[in-house]
């Protein structure tokens, strides 16, 4: 059996890897902001490049594994935590901490539900569905992205999910560094700021994509 500290370490390492992946994912997807026809060719080329690359394939398996381990470990941590506590008739403990730090499980579940939708929208269709080809003969994932984000409810789901992800990241990054053992007051302060900025930048970047496409192609 892992100790409580080792369980948190597993959560921390998989979480940090996932958070790092988000940056790469964001940078790649910035191509969506290019002028439409240029974006189509670039984005479709990029998608094919990623799906054909052995190294990326390997990383993607680590990514799937990280998601699964992060979810299962979080579930085990939450179950143990629930067992360790007993309810109060009157409970005002919330005054001492931030709501999102107490609700990482809820935020994480929202992000997981979003991931299922997100995988179904793009990953599943690209891998197992049929897509038309663009003028360069590549699978036209760009068209799928544009079609999806012409539906206003998808835009809302994506933007709200990024809000959930943002709060999950703000606490998660800060908490992960504590788990790693960063205890120097100066660096703790810096990392708290850097983590917050990272979370907001990543999530704003992702949230702008469906909004941009909805308003430029409708």
């Amino acid at each position: 059996m892992l100790t409580t500290l080792s369980r948190k370490m597993l959560l921390c390492l998989t979480g940090l890897f996932l958070a790092f992946f988000l940056l790469i994912h964001l940078l790649g997807n910035l191509q969506l902001f290019l002028p439409a026809e240029e974006a189509r060719l670039q984005f479709n080329w990029y998608s094919q490049f990623l799906s054909g690359n052995t190294f990326i394939k390997l990383v993607s398996y680590i990514l799937y594994l990280s998601i699964i381990v992060h979810v299962i470990d979080a579930l085990l941590v939450t179950i143990k935590n629930k067992k360790a506590t007993a309810p109060y008739k009157k409970d005002s403990r919330g005054r001492a901490s931030k709501w999102y730090s107490r609700n990482m499980g809820v935020l994480g579940t929202l992000v997981l539900i979003f991931l299922v939708i997100h995988f179904q929208n793009f990953w599943y269709v690209y891998k197992f569905g049929t897509l038309p080809l663009d003028s360069a003969g590549k699978k036209d994932l760009y068209q799928l992205v544009v079609t999806t984000f012409q539906e206003w409810w998808y835009v809302i789901i994506y933007v709200l999910s990024m809000v959930a992800l943002c709060y999950h990241l703000i606490h998660g990054l800060h908490s992960a560094l504590r788990t790693l053992g960063v205890f120097h007051p100066k660096y703790v302060r810096w990392f708290k700021i850097i983590g917050g900025v990272y979370a907001v930048l990543i999530c704003t970047g992702f949230a702008l994509m469906p909004i941009y496409i909805y308003f430029t192609t409708n």
Binding site: T3, T4, L5, S6, R7, K8, M9, V77, K80, N81, K83, A84, T85, A86, P87, Y88, K89, K90, D91, S92, R93, R95, A96, S97, K98, S101, R102, M104, H171, H174, S175, L177, R178, T179, L180, G181, V182, F183, P185, V188
Partner: protein
């Protein structure tokens, strides 16, 4: 002043408890919270009822014996104080006050507001000490330790083990207590000797006592009567990771 109390009454560890209503009038606002509890008990005894059991000892805020959830907050609304240092002037006249025991799976209720905190004692016995032959007192300055370091160690050693951190934590984690007890030793040369075994044994004991995981909500530091810093928890994580990597 007048107070309406809702006090947790529980016969023993295995019975179901419940909140019981009591009203006290003509209270002096400068009474301490525990004096108010004494007044309640005197009234109960005069009426032939069982007094409310609660823990207390020094009543000067340093022993860590007293501790109740007062209106859902460990040690009540005043920050960085123990229950005994809280006075009725912190409440409104005619206010309703919920008084419950500190709750956690590792702190079973023994009776009314008294909980069994011996899990903390077992964590200490698992490694919260230094193994030295004490002998005669050594020369005062034979071990050079900077003032900064002694202060840092003392900040961690200021933990009085009241259990407010566990009662406040939504996960029932004892990370703040355990880390404070690890760090006040590891910061000093005498304590550095057994740092690896200590952190591993104390963390294992903490887990064996059914405390939860720390999720860094930092609520413990806010409600701690001694203001023990959550950075102690980060340092415990550092010590633990270090021990896992370097231990033979």
């Amino acid at each position: 002043m007048k107070l309406n109390l809702k006090v947790w009454r529980q016969k023993d560890r295995n019975s179901q408890g419940q909140l019981v209503d009591y009203t006290l009038d003509h209270l002096n606002p400068h009474m301490s919270f525990l004096e108010m509890m004494d007044t309640l008990n005197e009234t109960l005894i005069l009426n032939g009822e069982e007094p409310v059991e609660f823990d207390h000892d020094c009543r000067e805020g340093i022993c860590g014996q007293c501790g109740m959830m007062i209106n859902g907050i460990a040690h009540g609304p005043l920050e960085n104080t123990t229950t005994c240092q809280l006075h009725l002037r912190s409440f409104q006249d005619n206010e309703t006050i919920f008084i419950e025991p500190f709750r956690s799976a590792a702190f079973p209720v023994k009776r009314d507001l008294r909980v069994d905190r011996s899990a903390f004692d077992r964590i200490i016995s698992s490694g919260g000490f230094v193994s030295t032959n004490t002998g005669q007192a050594p020369d005062a300055h034979s071990l050079p330790i900077s003032h900064q370091l002694t202060e840092e160690a003392f900040d961690a050693a200021a933990c009085i083990g009241c259990g407010a951190c566990v009662a406040t934590c939504k996960n029932g984690s004892a990370a703040l207590f355990t880390s404070a007890k690890i760090n006040h030793l590891v910061l000093l040369p005498q304590g550095k000797e057994e740092r690896q075994e200590r952190v591993i044994n104390m963390v294992q004991q903490m887990d064996a006592e059914a405390f939860g995981h720390c999720s860094n909500t930092e609520a413990c530091e806010v409600e701690c009567p001694q203001g023990i810093s959550v950075l102690n928890i980060a340092r415990m994580n550092y010590e633990y990771n270090r021990a896992l990597i370097t231990r033979k």
